[in-house]
Amino acid sequence: MRHQKAASFALATILLVAMAAGTLILFVSPGAALVTRALRIILPAGAGAALLLLLVEWRRRETPTTGAREAPDGVNRMSEAKLNALVNESQDMILTIDSAGRIAEINRAGAQLLGYESIDAVIGRVEAEFWPNARDHAVLMQLIQESGAVKNFEVILTRADGATIFGLESATAIRDEAGDISQIHAIVKDISARIRDEQTRWKLNVQLAEANQKLKESQAMIIQQEKLASIGQLAAGIAHEINNPLGFMKSNQSALGQFLRNIEAFLRSLSDVEYPSLAGARAAYNIDYILSGLGKILADLDEGFRRISEIVQNLRSFSRIDAGDTRALFDVNAGIRKILVVAHNEVVASADVTLELGELPLVECSEGEILQVLLNIIVNAAQAIKAQGRAQKGRIEIRTGTRNDHVWIEIEDDGPGIPREIQSKIFDPFFTTKPVGQGTGLGLSISYDIIVHNHGGALTVRSAPGAGACFRIDLPIIHRKNTDSEALARSP
């Protein structure tokens, strides 16, 4: 009712003004909007809206029913009514910002997009207040200042209820006679739904890429495991082949030792006094020298055969890698000693190894897999030290102990250490700092898989650059069946 009164008052006012000033309003068609705006500032808001409607209606009556009239230059122009309808019925936000940065005009869709029930609630507000990101607003203003217009600039706005909306803004600057921006006309299209769809698509793309990568990693790990299994089989074959001749060599060596000891006893029983002619022959054939060295030679042979046996035994331990889930009680300390025999050649030139092995219970695990992990970490430590090219040998300390229901193994070196930034990546498949061709980047990844996934343990590292690295393995003493079966049991 109040609006109707205001509209009537405004109508009367305009009619009077029009009569006094001739057909002012009729002939300001190109600038009608400006006049409307100017009057709107002067008149109360409600009267302004009524006046706007009045002007639109007046223009409608004066315009041919086609809604367009022929301009002097021959260009068809859309009627004010159509323009108004376009603005009011637009689903996009259409607004005018004044030179003070306040919203001077906005359509219904704009007010609703900003979370307001009425247009009046938005008019006069500082437009920048709706921008959560002041820098983005400054960027847009700079672009408008520079070019006079901006097309499809993506904006983020905050609604009255605090929700965030995404929009695509096109804006044009209106300049006054001095060239300063007096107004900005803008249209903002709500693209929040499109952005949400994009977010879903991004997430799917990344998940797909991750899944593909995991697949590649799994394939590579399977190939590597197959390779190790093949090496294991090969080692088992070699061990078997060596073991057979080793058996009769040891047997013959034992008999030979006994025979030689008898011959030595016999020769020593022959006295030079009793058999003077033997003295020359004894000297000519270095018999005394031979007899004095015989014991050492036999002892060395014993040691050689013992070491060959040990290596063969260790190779057979490795050959169990491919035997699947063959868990048995395993002496971790004995395993470490076995590994040091196998890795002797890799380690001996680079580092001295010290052992601090605590008293451990037998651990239920896959011996071959645990040996593989130990070998990998120890060889890595030796290679890291070697890569420093230092004058003196490095140091590798291996410690073991128990804690609650776990045994732990620490392998610490005094090599270059691992930069903090990459410590979280060293167990990732294919991550390597070794030169191309010298490392697959799978060793630690497979080790992690064996300890964590196959044995329910933990494999961690602590290191500081320049201060070496310490890998720690925690293994449950009693192996619990993998959580897969538990998860299956829990699943509906």
Partner: protein, 129 residues
């Protein structure tokens, strides 16, 4: 990969008034392909840059790591964010690590709003390039 390959981003963004990009190859443990973005990464810039960035990552044969250095980025649109995420997907397909580095607060705000940090990591470190 040679200098001409690395220059592809500068060529692609040459003539843009408010945006530029360049690629740097870095060796060593912290090495990798480092892509510096500067200015306003709006829809047009992202659309122009995207094919060049993807081609560069596809071709990259250095340390398996791609880092986008954002300290001089002033504005980013959703298409710009989409480019970063697509780059991550391509990098992951090739087994590369991927990270964003030194994002200014306004850009970080947009990345947060768009949920980027659920699948991308941000590192802050002194810039040396």
């Amino acid at each position: 990969m040679n200098e001409t390959d690395l220059d592809a981003l500068e060529r692609a963004t040459h003539g843009m008034k408010h945006f530029s990009a360049r690629a740097v190859a870095r060796d060593g443990v912290e090495g990798g392909l480092r892509i510096h973005l500067e200015g306003y990464l709006d829809g047009d810039a992202a659309g122009t840059l995207m094919p060049a960035v993807m081609a560069l990552i596809e071709k990259w044969d250095g340390q398996p790591r791609v880092v986008f250095v954002l300290d001089k980025l002033e504005y980013i649109s959703s298409l710009g964010v989409g480019m970063l995420i697509t780059a991550k997907a391509v990098a992951r397909e090739r087994g590369f690590a991927h990270a964003l580095e030194n994002s200014p607060p306004p850009v970080r705000h947009v990345l947060e709003l768009l949920g980027v940090f659920t699948y991308m990591s941000m590192q802050d470190r002194p810039s040396t390039e």
